[in-house]
Amino acid sequence: MSVIEVENLSKNFGDVKALDSISFSVNRGELFGLIGPDGAGKTTLFRLLTTLLNPDEGRASVDGFDIVKEYRSIRSRVGYMPGRFSLYPDLTVEENLSFFAALFGVTIKESYDLFAPIYKKIEPFSTRRAAHLSGGMKQKLALSCALIHRPSVLFLDEPTTGIDAVSRVELWDMLAGLKEQGITILVSTPYMDEASRCDRIALCNEGRILGIDNPREILKRFDSKLYAVGADNMYALIRAARQIDGVIECYPFGEKHHIVATDEFNVETFKEQLKDLKGLSIEPVQPVIEDVFIKLMKR
């Protein structure tokens, strides 16, 4: 059963189409990722679904309630962690938690079991002001506050932006724990490598959805040959490779470059034609989400 349903949803800001008729649905208990760069419309979508903005066209519902007509019912059922730190810096950890509990008319006790695994890590600092917490601790507090009223759906807007690699893994582990407790989670990220932590993902760009699927299936949408190439002079390589027959594209990809090629592309011919480049190497590789994203963007 769908907990979030979005149909042809559009939102414009002046001439900018922040969301351009998007549709998707999220099942109960699913960890669903919106993956895309700045300007994809991720934050606008969160603000529509949490009833902070009204759409220009289309409709959407959360937990069975319409985002325009029944916004009050939605507000008491969802937890929302916006991209920017949104707690009160001059209240302590504990005061922030009590404040949000009071807002929703609940007690900390009622939902303690739900957020305890997260909150326990910052409980020793319960009398510290939020302003003086580290980035990772602020996030744990924000997440605890977003869970205080036992929401059925949790919205997290770019929770891993600006935090280091260790904290990122920790955050995804916390989300996996919440999913175990049956909470439906919609989370956005600009980092493509985080896709594998989601049940399903939507790749988003410039207000549109390029594709929706589970992380493994979406890789199958990459339907060309793909190679990783390297040489001592990587810049000379990228320029030379683009001139070779059968090369559709060549772009930097970490230590190597990736070549997207037609079926006619021949590795031996490629090597022969570029034999003047020192340290030349080429091997077939499996695409990752970024390759798929680039490919879908170009369509």
Binding site: V166, P190, Y191, N205, Y251, E290, M297
Partner: protein, 246 residues
């Protein structure tokens, strides 16, 4: 080995009792893309501020672009380029006004500014956007423009502080291609990021943990040394023992 553009030994910065950067030593060579990574609070920003001439070290010695990090901060500032994601260009100035402003700050004459500014725009195929407000450009264009402006005075070395956050994968790759091109032309690139996939693009990477440089090598060798598949894994292995948070 090629020319050394940055050379530091035992560079240390203390704030009161807190040692933000502790005796770091390394060399960066001409035309190299040198990655500088670390967890939040590891001391990256403090280290970079010393290398950019924005803050004097408490102790240690070294040179950047031939100038002494202990005493010639002002000269260093004029001979380097700097770009960050948070601050790069003024949104409420036009493309040309930004070029003019930064060229002036870097000490170019009016004639040089006109000549190099025009070249820069034509190379980016931006000539028609000369009078466009920077704020109305797409993020990817802004980043390319910011990089070009950061190198308008042909510095030996450019510091990029988390340069490519938030852009789509295609634009990010176009940006890295620009960096490769600049490096191939002999410009040294010093880039900080805490996203490990970016570290894979670098010739060599220094990893900071708790104020020290704990590892320094090419991504391939680091992965080999730590028996890891990715720089992300290398980093997490090192950062797991970090005592500091941000």
């Amino acid at each position: 080995m090629s020319d050394v553009v940055i050379s530091v030994r035992e560079l240390t910065k203390k704030f009161g009792n807190f040692t933000a950067v502790e005796r770091i030593s390394f060399d960066v060579y001409q035309g190299e893309i040198f990655g500088f990574i670390g967890a939040n609070g590891a001391g990256k920003t403090t280290a970079m501020r010393m290398l950019c001439g924005l803050s004097y070290p408490t102790s240690g010695r070294g040179t950047v672009a031939g100038f002494d990090v202990m005493s010639e901060g002002e000269k260093i500032k004029r001979h380097i380029g700097y770009m960050s994601q948070r601050f790069s260009l003024y949104n409420d100035l036009t493309v040309w006004e930004n070029i003019n402003l930064f060229a002036g700050i870097y000490g170019l004459s009016k004639n040089e500014t006109d000549k190099r500014g025009t070249e820069l725009l034509s190379k980016l195929k931006f000539s028609s956007e000369r009078n466009t407000l920077v704020g109305s450009l797409p993020l990817g264009w802004k980043q390319k423009l910011a990089f070009s402006i950061a190198t308008v005075h042909r510095p030996e070395i450019v510091f990029l502080d988390e340069p490519t956050g938030g852009v789509d994968p295609l634009t990010r790759r176009q940006f890295w291609e620009m960096i490769y091109e600049a490096a191939a032309d002999g410009t040294t690139i010093f880039v900080t990021t805490h996203y490990m996939d970016e570290a894979e693009y670098c010739s060599r990477v220094a990893i900071m943990v708790d104020g020290r440089v704990d590892a320094l090598d090419s991504p391939a060798k680091l992965k080999q040394e730590f028996r890891a598949d990715s720089m992300d894994e290398v980093f997490r292995t090192l950062a797991r023992d970090a005592k500091r948070g941000d």
